[in-house]
């Protein structure tokens, strides 16, 4: 039973408890429960019904009661249309119609059945309570909506994140200010490679500046990364979605495939190389055997010399192959002796004179005065020189001006430098770093224009490095090449 109001103090108490209850509500349901409680404290309530904007009951007091709302529909519409709070005598009861309105929009209506006529102050209190509760319930509803929306947004975000996290690529997003604003898990886990982030940021900044897709590469300790950055317009700024992928395995596979191809070429190549002298030896010895009696001494000598030369050539090829197989097995050993390098160079150059002459190449040599003692493997050093000189002759420009190969031996104090220079066909720039690789030939084809196994320079490099030295080349395509060999003087 509600007490009659009757004093300001009581009204203040009612308002205080209602406001306190509203402070703790989290749902519209709770708002209306609080409203029903406060209404019952204010007046003698027989029943209450709260209808939503579609006139559907959303809360009824007492819970069990079955109310016939339909009989009030005309009055409900009138009260909502006029946005008027009014009380109708209906039989023994007074029924109150309290529209819930916010900003001119109808949120619903509160129906209240009273056992006696409310007084002015009671009507005023009921009106204010219904005003307050419609405002609060609308706010709570909006809050619920916002919370639900946020939850949905968060869930969607989480979903997208987990998708991005499964990418095999590392993904980062770089803001216009050049800051990383997003990174997927792959980047967090694998992106900590020295310099990689800086390279990615550099490319991303270029993309933000130019608004054009960019691609880059980065290499660190044998790991290769491809970097792709795409511009992204976001809230009037440009960002760069940057994808980083470790492509090392792809690169490695590519390298192995190439090696395989080179080996196949090598086999074909070396068979050809071996067959050429062998065919000559076979043909000449057959002729000698068949026509032994008819051959005069000079012709026979000529034939035998060819056979001998070709066997020598064959031997060289086999030696090269053996060296290579030793090299592969790390079994190439040096037999160091104290020798005079001047003699070694002079000897090697002399032995190539005939070959140079027959190819129309002028062979020059520049030696230091006196002797130059070094602790090296003389036959291996000779091998290096022969190889470089024969390459110079082999790759000279045919039918064109005066070709030369110039060998220079220089005393550099702690070390010696051997330079083999030619004015031959040269080496294309993009092939410079590959010529010392095994099986590699610049022409890299099966045309056999120039004989060779493709192993020579790889073996030369190995020998030089076994001596603790280094080898490099300067070359210009069409102008000639200049090979440098540097060997430390290790005189004991």
């Amino acid at each position: 039973m509600a007490e009659t109001i009757g004093s300001t103090e009581k009204i203040v108490n009612l308002f205080s408890s209602f406001i306190m209850e509203l402070n703790n509500v989290h749902s519209t349901e709770e708002v209306f429960s609080a409203l029903i409680r406060i209404m019952r404290k204010t007046v003698n309530v027989n029943w209450m019904a709260i209808l939503d904007a579609e006139r559907k009951p959303i809360k009824i007091y007492p819970n069990s009661s079955e109310l016939n709302i339909g009989r009030f529909s005309e009055l409900i519409e009138w009260a909502l249309d006029n946005k008027t709070h009014s009380f109708y005598p209906v039989g023994e009861e007074i029924v109150g119609f309290l529209p819930m309105i916010k900003g001119g929009d109808v949120l619903g209506i509160i129906l209240i059945g009273l056992s006696q006529e409310p007084r002015v102050e009671e009507i005023d209190a009921l009106r204010v309570f219904s005003f307050l509760s419609s405002t609060v319930s609308e706010n709570v509803r909006l809050l619920e909506e916002v919370v639900e929306k946020n939850r949905l947004v968060e869930e969607t975000m989480k979903y997208l994140h987990s998708i991005l996290d499964t990418f095999p690529e590392m993904v980062i997003v770089v803001s216009q200010e050049g800051e990383i604003v997003y990174m997927n898990r792959r980047f967090v886990e694998e992106g900590d490679v020295e310099g990689l982030k800086d390279e990615a940021l550099k490319i991303a900044r270029q993309v933000i500046e130019t608004k054009v897709r960019r691609v880059g590469e980065y290499e660190k300790e044998g790991q290769y990364y491809s970097i792709v950055a795409e511009p992204l317009q976001y809230q009037n700024t440009y960002q760069a979605v940057t994808t980083i992928m470790n492509v090392t395995s792809t690169k490695e596979l590519e390298r192995l495939k190439q090696l395989d191809r080179m080996k196949t070429e090598f086999v074909a190549n070396i068979s050809h190389e071996l067959r050429t002298p062998l065919a000559a030896i076979k043909a000449y010895s057959e002729t000698v055997l068949d026509s032994l009696k008819e051959l005069d001494e000079n012709t026979l000598k000529d034939f035998m010399e060819t056979i001998y030369r070709e066997s020598m050539h064959l031997e060289n090829l086999l030696d090269e192959l053996l060296d290579f197989s030793r090299m592969e097995r790390k079994a190439l050993k040096l037999e160091r002796r104290d020798v005079d390098l001047v003699e070694v160079v002079k000897d090697a150059v002399d032995s190539m004179r005939e070959y140079a002459k027959s190819n129309g190449v002028k062979l020059e040599v520049v030696l230091p005065e006196g002797s130059l003692k070094a602790n090296v493997d003389p036959s291996r050093m000779r091998q290096v020189l022969l190889n470089l000189i024969s390459n110079g002759i082999k790759y000279s420009k045919k039918d064109e001006g005066e070709s030369y190969v110039k060998v220079v031996l220089k005393d550099e104090g702690e070390k010696v430098q051997i330079i083999v220079e030619d004015n031959g066909i040269g080496i294309p720039e993009d092939k410079l770093d590959k010529i010392f690789e095994k099986f590699y030939r610049v022409d890299s084809s099966l045309t056999y224009e120039i004989s060779g196994t493709g192993l020579g320079l790889a073996i030369v490099k190995e020998i030089v490095e076994l001596h603790g030295g280094r080898i490099w080349v300067e070359s210009e395509e069409g102008k000639g090449s200049k090979f440098y060999v540097e060997i430390p003087l290790k005189v004991e």
Partner: protein, 283 residues
């Protein structure tokens, strides 16, 4: 030219609310009052009660069932609305029974009273002002000063009338031009003398300059009546002898957070409401 004090003294010549009206006002604002008490007060004047019942059943309220008993009207429409009806009847009769010139058309002026009352209530409804009935009575009485001026000094009224209609000026501009004490101050003194609540005194005083009462607890009421008055004067020029372009107070708009969209919605609803208010015009 009369000074404002001398003018106020002559306000006595205007009819003041009789005992019945005074009783109605006091009962309607008594928190402990019951519907029956208010009904009893109105029934002291038989012609008043029938007029109140007629208005309660008018198209303006559009109650779906007919009300034949005053206490029922009070329950359904509320104490304050019924008080407003009583006050309307009184204002109507005092407007048409008092002496005055033909400089101002009483019928038009009454229409302005009713329209601003309806407009204020409608605007309050749209803005979500909880006690919209209070707005009705404030709107109804806001220009009571013009009636007073007409009674006190028909000569001045004629002067104002000739300026506003001929030169397309507002009533306020004409007053300033002629250096006549403003109808707002005269009206305020009048309703004060009648013993009406402070809120009505402030509305009458400030309905052209709501910034005067921004700090008052009645600031919203004054501002709402101000906006309704300006809109009524624009839509029905000349009803209150005001022509030209009335000045809409920015302070009022800011206080009410009244955006152009809301203002347009108000004007649409206002047009519908005034069409239903015919029964208020002819009592």
């Amino acid at each position: 030219m009369l000074s404002i004090d001398k003018m106020i003294d002559r306000i006595e010549e205007l009819p003041s609310p009789d005992f019945v009206v005074q009783k109605i006002i006091s009962v309607a604002s008594d928190p402990h009052a019951s519907a029956q008490e208010l009904a009893d007060a109105i029934m002291m004047d038989a012609s008043l009660s029938s007029k109140v019942l007629k208005l309660a059943n008018s198209a303006y309220y559009g109650i779906p069932r007919r009300i034949s008993v005053l206490s029922e009207a009070i329950m359904i429409l509320g104490f304050k609305t019924v008080r407003n009806l009583a006050m309307s009847v009184f204002t109507y009769s005092s407007l048409f029974s008092s002496n005055g010139t033909e400089a101002i058309n009483r019928k038009s002026l009454w229409r302005h009273f009713v329209y601003v009352a309806v407009g204020s209530e409608t605007l309050g409804e749209i803005l979500g002002y909880p006690v919209k009935e209070e707005l009705f009575i404030n709107g109804l009485l806001h220009d009571i000063g013009k009636v007073a001026l007409d009674v006190i000094s028909p000569r001045m009224m004629r002067a104002i009338s000739s300026i506003t209609s001929a030169k397309n000026r507002t009533f306020l501009e004409a007053e300033k031009l002629l250096e006549i004490p403003p109808h707002t101050s005269i009206g305020a003194k009048l309703v004060e003398r009648w013993g009406l609540p402070d809120v009505i005194v402030q509305t009458v005083e400030g309905h052209h300059s709501p910034e005067m009462f921004l700090d008052s607890i009645n600031a919203e009421v004054v501002a709402i009546v101000h906006v309704a008055d300006v809109v009524a004067n624009m839509m029905f020029p000349g009803d209150s002898l005001s022509y030209g372009k009335p000045n809409l107070s920015h302070d009022a708009l800011n206080l009410l957070v009244l955006r152009p969209k809301t203002l347009i919605r108000f004007m649409d609803r206002f047009k519908v409401k005034v069409k239903k208010a015919d029964e208020f015009l002819e009592m």
